[in-house]
Assembly symmetry: C2
Homo-oligomer: 498 residues x 2
């Protein structure tokens, strides 16, 4: 190992520190920043994005990467250099001015999106979207791609992902989902989920959220939980400062309930990354798909299980006695697992959720292949929802304006959600094999065995293994939709009493 290595790592750590600062700017904007601060914040975000980029693509970085040599058997150094090279190669193709323009535009576009959604006026957002698509197309062209521009964009979130490969997996998933959905829709005894849309006062939901976050092991000495319009998890100081947000809806309990577990899943991953490698490339998460596997695992495979509620349902009854007095644990379990095509992705059940993603994947690909224009997006969205999910939005606010992602310029991000669902099911199947009494512990509100398994098999490795390598290593099989389909089929058999 050369002296260049230490210098390179220090340089990457500084970039990581600045990224944490950048995350704080975003977190603050979504939680506490006064409305009037938008313009100043946009300038700060852009400036910081530019600084990070400049530092990353500086000649000095190139020189260090050219000079560095590491021993093949030093996996930390090998990973650090591999990942430093990867981000450098990507970043060095994009001029700093473009990076700053994207950051500045998306900071303002997020605000415009919020307005557009609350007023249900797509026209307020479309100029921003046109601009962001154009900017990201320039990025894709500069990064380069073999088959289609969308691959270059996905690579930012899921290194190495290819649209053509996903298309095949998604096609199989779609076919099996539709078959399962037909069987569900023919069921004579669907659960009653109206019990979840009664009035649940926010203050009590907050108590419940806190209890669940504590139960699964979210460490508040190294994190916080706040409220925002769009829930998220962000990492501000490596594993030392990980923050989640929740959205409370008084007339829809699942929003905060499963939102909290979801974000806790992300947070547990971040808090479980190797603390001794804080700021080094190896100390980061593998990819957004693997990240999402952690959130979906806690939200769904744990949070919508009978075992979880065997313990937590008493908490729910205690907090909402008047609302749930005649609802049994079984009624509740069936309600939170009801499958029904609906308009809003974040509120979708586990089965139809992926159909929402598949639609977004198709629309994004079409946008970047010039087969769809931003102006035609609302109608394409509505048609796609009708064909793919089986329901049609009446307002763009419930349609193509529902998600924040595009306002952030995050195209190619959505597919990682379905990848997460698939990874989660495959990981969890393996965890149950390795820890036979896993659900007994969960039913006792003891989440340590599962967390321990995740820490050992996934979290502690940081970015050592690529996503495909990790899933193969942990489960012995490459990614497929088999585990997921087995899981949802089993769940539905239980819920729908086949």
């Amino acid at each position: 190992m050369t002296g260049s290595y230490q210098t390179l790592i220090e340089r990457m750590k500084d970039i990581g520190r600045l990224s944490g600062v950048s995350q704080l700017l975003d977190w603050d904007q979504e939680t506490y920043m006064p409305r009037g601060g938008v313009a100043a914040r946009a300038e700060q975000s852009a400036l910081l994005a530019g600084l990070i980029h400049e530092r990353l693509v500086a000649d000095e970085t190139r020189r260090l990467l050219d000079d560095v040599t590491v021993h093949d058997d030093d996996f930390v150094a090998v990973t650090n250099v591999r990942e430093a090279r990867r981000v450098y190669e990507r970043a060095s193709r994009i001029p700093t001015e473009l990076v700053k323009e994207i950051a500045h535009t998306s900071s303002l576009a997020k605000d415009a999106w919020g307005e557009a959604r609350s007023r249900d006026e797509f026209a307020r957002f479309s100029p921003w979207l046109i601009k962001l698509v154009a900017l990201k197309r320039r990025v894709a062209d500069l990064i380069g791609y073999e088959t289609e521009p969308y691959d270059a964009l996905m690579d930012e979130f899921e290194p190495g992902a290819k649209a053509a490969v996903l298309e095949t997996i998604f096609a199989e998933l779609r076919e099996k989902t539709v078959a399962l959905l037909q069987r569900i829709q023919a069921s004579p005894r669907p659960p009653d989920d109206t019990i979840l849309s009664q009035t649940f006062p926010e203050e009590r939901q907050r108590v419940l959220s806190s209890r669940m976050a504590e139960a699964v092991g979210f460490d508040l000495a190294r994190g916080r939980a706040d409220v925002s319009a769009h829930p998220f998890c962000t990492t501000i100081g490596g594993p030392l400062d990980v923050r989640i947000t929740t959205r409370y809806q008084e007339r829809f309990l699942p929003s905060a309930l499963f939102g909290t577990l979801h974000e806790c899943g992300h947070a547990l991953y971040e808090q479980g990354l190797p603390e001794g490698r804080r700021g080094e490339p190896i100390g980061e998460a593998v990819s957004l798909g693997i990240h999402e596997s952690q959130s979906r695992l806690w939200e769904n495979l744990v949070g919508r299980s009978r075992a979880f509620w065997k313990f937590h349902y008493s908490s729910l009854l205690e907090l909402f006695p008047d609302t749930l007095y005649n609802v049994s644990l079984d009624d509740f379990y069936r309600a939170i697992n009801k499958v029904k095509p609906s308009l809003i992705r974040v509120e979708a059940d586990e089965v139809t959720y992926n159909l929402h993603i598949i639609l977004r994947f198709e629309l994004e690909r079409a946008l970047f292949r010039d087969r769809l224009s931003v102006e035609d997006l609302p109608s394409a969205w509505n048609e796609g929802m009708t064909q793919t999910v089986g329901v049609t939005p009446k307002r763009d606010a419930d349609g193509c304006l529902q998600d924040i992602h595009w306002s952030m310029g995050a195209f190619g991000y959505f597919p990682t959600y379905t990848l997460g669902n698939l990874y989660a099911a495959q990981f969890f199947e393996r965890a149950r094999e390795d820890v036979p009494d896993l659900f007994d512990a969960i039913a006792d509100n003891d989440h340590r065995p599962l967390l321990q398994w995740l820490r050992e098999n996934i979290h502690q490795h940081g970015r050592r293994f690529r996503a495909g390598e990790l899933v193969l290593r942990v489960t012995g099989r490459p990614l497929s939709c088999d585990s997921f389909v087995r899981y949802v089929t089993g769940k539905c058999a239980d819920v729908y009493r086949w």
Copy 2:
């Protein structure tokens, strides 16, 4: 005006943006950051301080300053260049590594100070203080000074201030304060201030704070109010994002009451700076002394006036009916203006407050003249308190550990508090001459005439005038303690019924 001018201004604006980001890091650390995030935050703060410094002292800045020419009659450009030069000259003498070391050390030292104060263990803080004094002495030596190192430190907060000059003003102030105090202490009918130390539930104090902040004109669309251990006001996005914090003490009402008005005074100044010059040097406050004049003016000259409470006392009675049912407006007015030597600066009355500052000024000067060591600070503090204020701390937590400033490396900062008191009285005397019915408006809860006067005479100019120039321009006289002494003497005559 040359092209260099625009480039120079853009450069200064970027530096201003980064300073805002740095302020956000501090604000977050004091309000919402999880405890575990300290180490990561220290690294981020240091990195950002280094970046700001590097950008400021870069050859490019030097080149731009050498090349720039502006017309003498363009006061905006003249001020911008003058101030850019001033900060450049100062900063260019300090190596970036030293700036980063100070930022990193003070970020950790703040935490150690909090611990030391809560445990009343000076020894936990003294190693940090020794280090910070040594670091700041290096700064003073690098900056250079004519008479003593302390001048170089004060210059950061109050450009051009000289210890020898302050010594003279402070000596006169001390003499007149002691004379006034003797008269007060001989008074047969002191006010009863125990009514302020009953139980005032925090929730209701919060309501009161909000009402007062709104009443004086703090704009929450461009600001926020939060809670922190040590109240402060910070500017994150120029006049667009100004934040205050308050400390609530259930058994001491004045803390939140006057703390809120104090921080609002700072915030009104920041929100009143010329928005069209956001980020430019001229768009900033004159000095900390002028800043403090604004906070003390609202806290004391307004907030402890009969007129203010003529309106707001009903609010107080409504919020704390059981506690204050037998306290008249006159009782309350006299209680909040009681003069009594005490241990804690931030809780001191208007008369003895400056004695606390004079002591700190003397101790700091002694530290930097090598006439006092950090180890001897607690005993020097206690002796000084006995001689200067007339009371002796029993614990360091109530003595030399009470203030956060030294943990931030802010030596030479305290004198600006007394400068603020003097400026405030001198400005306010003039405002009353210019606006004869000022107190009638305040009694009607209409603070617009005063705010308007401050906006016109002080805020809108930003940094156009130096502090001494501004006070001369606005009041027609150079700074002295005359107005202040007149003001407190009149107040005491009213409160002590001479």
